[in-house]
Symmetry: C2
Subunit: 333 residues, 2 copies
């Protein structure tokens, strides 16, 4: 990877115990980089931060309207949810409205992150199903698009019309030919881009207008759906949900595995993309919160923000033992 910058520090007592390096860009609606850290040309996998891009063909093709999808369903199509009842009930109903069910999803099963649901499963000696997978909303969106396009059952295949449509939209909005892909945790292709490409895509989402072209109108609907339903995009206690609530409609936020994070700021017409090179979520959450504070859409004193930007490290007996904090380089934002 190119030259990265130290973005996040983990202190225990007076000792800098661990640290996280990464890359970040802030882009305007035209795709220009207006600020950044590290190397914008770094090739990355956006993982679940690409979900809004993967949902563009669902809206642009007319599939979403033909199926009468609500803003809740659009939010779920962009979600990495935690398998709580508010998520799985809606995905189950969505599939059933199409005459489909759990077995039509091609993502694997995943133990839900939602504590209550997980505890229920453990107590019942039950295994999680595919609907619990954090990507099941995205997959329900893929199935909706596949039906609209007349595609086959293997909608995660790279050559399937769904994935070809996703790839085309991804390359158009990032402004790049994708240099490759990886198989995501949910079995779908995840297209690579440069960090600048993902920043450009977020800038385009931020600058999109309700009266714009098909692409812009789709981008507006997706970002609005996410901000309307922060609880469906992730879930209680999760960063995307809590920080979107704290920003009160000023930002749409999406994390991705291995410490990717993106943000869309429609009022400023700015997009943010960042990657912590070691894949640590504690660091990507601190970094995105810090950048959003510097851009004026989050308040550093809000407990929901402080818990991500500057959390206390505690012993198991509850004593304060240290803290996670943004580096000086990140704070100059």
């Amino acid at each position: 990877m190119g030259h990265s910058e130290r973005l996040v520090e983990v202190w225990r007592g007076d000792v800098l115990e661990s640290q996280h390096h990464g890359h970040a860009v802030i882009c305007n609606a035209k795709g220009d980089i207006v600020d950044g850290w590290g190397d914008p040309d770094q090739v990355i996998l956006p993982r679940s931060s690409a979900k809004m891009l993967q949902a563009l063909p669902l809206v642009e093709s007319g599939a979403a309207d033909a199926a009468g999808l609500t803003t809740e369903q659009l939010a779920l199509s962009c979600a990495s949810h935690q398998g709580a009842a508010i998520h799985t009930d809606r995905v189950t109903r969505w599939l059933s409205d199409m005459g489909l069910g759990n077995d039509d999803l091609l993502c694997g099963p995943q133990m839900p992150d939602d504590r209550e649901t997980r505890t229920e499963l453990i107590k019942a000696d039950a295994s999680p199903c595919r609907i619990h997978n954090n990507c099941s909303g995205k997959h329900a969106g893929f199935l909706t698009l596949s039906r609209h396009l007349g595609g086959g059952a293997d909608y995660v295949d790279l050559d399937h019309p769904v994935q070809q449509a996703v790839k085309a939209a991804f390359e158009e909005i990032t402004g790049e030919t994708s240099p490759g892909f990886g198989i995501d945790g949910c079995s779908a292709p995840n297209f690579a881009a440069t960090l600048a490409g993902m920043g450009r895509a977020m800038g385009a989402f931020a600058g999109a207008k309700p009266g714009g072209d098909t692409r812009q109108r789709a981008a507006v609907r997706l970002r609005e759906a996410m901000m309307l339903h922060p609880d469906l995009v992730a879930g209680e206690t999760r960063a995307c949900t809590e920080l979107m609530r704290a920003a009160k409609g000023k930002v749409a936020l999406k994390t991705g595995a291995e410490a990717f994070f993106v943000a869309i700021l429609p009022e400023q017409e700015l997009g943010v993309a960042l990657k912590i090179m070691d894949g640590a979520e504690r660091a990507s959450e601190c970094a995105i919160a810090t950048i959003l504070v510097s851009l004026g859409v989050l308040d550093a004193d809000d407990p929901m923000v402080k818990k991500r930007m500057n959390p206390v490290v505690k012993s198991r007996a509850g004593q304060d033992a240290g803290e996670i904090r943004p580096s000086a380089a990140l704070l100059r934002a």
Copy 2:
């Protein structure tokens, strides 16, 4: 931190998705660095990798023999166990033999990593207790030493005779004045050192002879106890346990939080200490396994070794999606 080297890579498809940098040293019995990566002067917190050092006064003072401690108890005093019955039963009996119990431990409670025990607790709506804390064996050792020294109940206080004895042993065997300390997850002070200091300590443990002085005899007893009881030092499925078994008595191994790892190789009279700067366990496990393969005490083809050194990254549906692997720099070991 000083200049670190890329030690571990995380690949997904053809994309280098994440990477881990760190520092490592290999020291001989005299404390000379015979090989290394990154900066040996890096100040680190060894966390639970310091447990053998913290147990030295227990043995050297005569407290262990006065209490009739077995090799199992010495292994537990160096353990980060996962709260399985084999661990908690022995710690409970050890405390009870002293007329003490759970409430005399000053570590906080911890949900056990052992899956069966954790599932039992969840099913019973029960909370974990202090005996489940991964450090409860170390704390039982502290209590044994405290009684021998006539110390008070607050044995984790920096000025308590137990911690003063630990600090003296720590500084002697690392050959350094400790530059500070942090409060560990278990509430005890964790003394800082340079990476070279921890390597020096491991070299001393490796070169210690059964016929040597008090320090050497204590070091031999502790490393032998660990290698005799790999299941008590960590537990089933854990790296320390599985890699010690795979090494068949040729290495004593101990991980620490935030991606610290140490190894003692008595036959070669070599010690290893390493720190992954971002704190990722997947990387410290890959790095220690790789170094031990290069030193000839582990076989790269052993499934228990491959699972740490070169694990497959899978989708939730079980497809191969990528791999974790040592960097070229680490492989030149």
